[in-house]
């Protein structure tokens, strides 16, 4: 187990190296370079040259890379001239709010997705299975922003049940103090993920239903309820835990769309604004952070899979 962990962490470091080189390279793709993009077309050549020197963009790529990574290792993700704020400060301010949205949305989707997926597997090939399958196909095929705006139209504009925009405020406390405004963003986010869990749970439970241990449990006289919740549920959940760790890019993508639609003051919205304003330091910092989270998520998924399923060997 220890050897496996060490090997995985070494792989993780190599992956991190590739990722950081790639993201820094991205910044250089801005037409005329990042400084020209930042200062705009009316900046003089001298001004661009001055700021290029100031920010070190006149140096070779490997020097820039070295300095940038050195700063990253010290927890310094850069400075956003557009917002006049450090990127770390920006993250400290927005990340908790995004975690609230992503956490609540994921929780709601799991609470519905897992039991309904199991129900579908048990009642497979019946009308209720087909109806639920239809709903999850809809979840796959509907653009997130379209569904979110339909929710706004139905529940905010037509019937005034919920406010049409997300909770506003700079702290988590302020966001949580407006629970009614949180409902629509969380539902929209959860619907996006629901399809994922329920489809996966359905096929996972169906795979487990024909396993020998299920037959053994039944032969020993276990009730159908006990077979389902005591045996199959636990074994199918392993797959979901892994999937949860692997789906961080999906969670991030969902967060960006939902936050833009509802004007939710989190990292997704900040990232989108940074992209439109060519605020490259923020873009770099956010991308590296999200990537790090994904890599750690993948690692946790693999490790927890190995821990939860004794059949997995660490080779």
């Amino acid at each position: 187990m220890i050897g496996y962990l060490i090997r995985r962490i070494l792989q993780m470091l190599i992956v991190l190296f590739f990722v950081t080189v790639f993201t820094l390279f991205l910044v250089h793709l801005f037409p005329g370079g990042p400084i020209r993009a930042l200062l705009g077309p009316r900046a003089t050549v001298e001004q661009v040259a001055y700021f290029n020197k100031l920010y070190g963009f006149d140096q070779p790529f490997y020097v820039q890379y070295g300095k940038w990574v050195w700063q990253l290792l010290h927890g310094n993700l850069g400075y956003s001239p557009k917002l006049n704020q450090t990127v770390t400060g920006l993250i400290a301010q927005d990340l908790p709010k995004t975690i609230v949205l992503v956490g609540l949305g994921t929780l709601v989707s799991l609470v519905f997705g897992i039991p309904l997926g199991m129900y579908q597997a048990v009642k497979r090939y019946t009308v209720s299975d087909y109806v639920l399958t239809g709903i999850s196909f809809l979840g796959y095929a509907t653009p997130t922003f379209f569904f979110a705006l339909l929710l706004v139209e139905w529940f905010a504009v037509d019937s005034h049940i919920f406010p049409p925009f997300a909770p506003q405020g700079s702290s988590v406390g302020q966001v949580l103090s407006q629970p009614r405004a949180l409902v629509l963003p969380v539902i929209a986010y959860a619907f996006l993920l629901y399809a994922l869990w329920s489809r996966y749970m359905r096929s996972s439970v169906m795979d487990n239903l024909v396993q020998d241990y299920v037959r053994t449990a039944r032969a020993k006289g276990a009730s159908e309820r006990r077979v389902l919740w005591g045996h199959i549920f636990r074994n199918s959940l392993t797959a979901i835990v892994t999937l949860l760790g692997l789906s961080l890019p999906t969670l991030v993508a969902g967060a960006i769309f939902i936050e833009v639609v509802f004007n939710y003051p989190g990292m997704g919205l900040a990232f989108y604004n940074a992209a439109l304003n060519v605020d490259y330091q923020t873009l770099l910092g956010f991308t590296v952070l999200a990537t790090l989270a994904t890599i750690v998520g993948n690692l946790l998924a693999d490790v927890s899979y190995a821990v939860l399923d004794p059949r997995v060997r660490y080779t």
Partner: protein, 318 residues
Amino acid sequence: MTIMGPGAESQLSQFGVLTEAPPAEGEGGVLTATKPRSALRRGWEVFAENRLALVGVGVVVFMVLFCFVGPLIYRTNQINTNLQLATCRPGGAHLLGCDEVGYDQLGRLMVGGQTSLEVGIAAALVAVLFGTLYGAVSGFAGGFIDSFLMRIVDAGLSIPYIMVVIILSVIFHPSPIIMIFLIAAFYWLGVARLVRGETLTLRTREYVQAVKVIGGRDIRAVVRHVVPNAIGTIVVQATFAVADSILILAGLGFLGVGVQPPATDWGSMLSNGLTYMQGGNYWWLIYPPGILIIVTCIAINFIGDALRDAFETRLQRR
């Protein structure tokens, strides 16, 4: 070698197949010609039994006809804007009304659909072709090359793709052609990983080993034997890739970083229409593009699911 080539599963029912299937035209030996065809036919039987899949095929064919043949029948001016006609109501000369700059909405749906379908299909093709070759080479080579190539894939998969696609879209102000490569640039990663996994199990098979024994080059083993046997995985991935690409393109259109005017796609039309959501009843600007996206993607997913069953040999020989 060719006798062993086409499919591991076709070897299993070799004798029954050989007696009943007629030789196909344009192929050399009887053995090579009949076997892949019969494997296809058995797959087709499973596929055709799935009614949803047939509906899916019907919908996709309809969409292709609608987008590419439709403009020949329902002729509209999609070149000049006409602000006098902006948001005109459905009826009369404009069956579905006009959009916010006076294009005929039904005609616009056809033009936008061309972009959506073209980008979706082309991005899927590029991603799957490249991903397949990359994954097959990586898995077949093994050792250091495999580790190196797969770490690159890991790195790509760890970056939330939407972030990079947004950054690149802001940089390039993409045309549909660039959009194809932007989407494919991330989609191939997943394909490569899957095909590599498949290759790892295939390369130890006797018929792949046999290539080495008779002095065939590695590239031949990969292209002629490994890839054709992984074709099930590849085709299923390609199908889902089309639907995913259409959705990604739509999402980018909503963020305003998708294809730029005068080009359009269903996603851009939908997000333009959504700005009219709260200003009165402009249903023809909102629901038609939204429904076309959803229906097309569901249809493609039906096909993908059925294809997965069709390539599942356990289901073939019931």
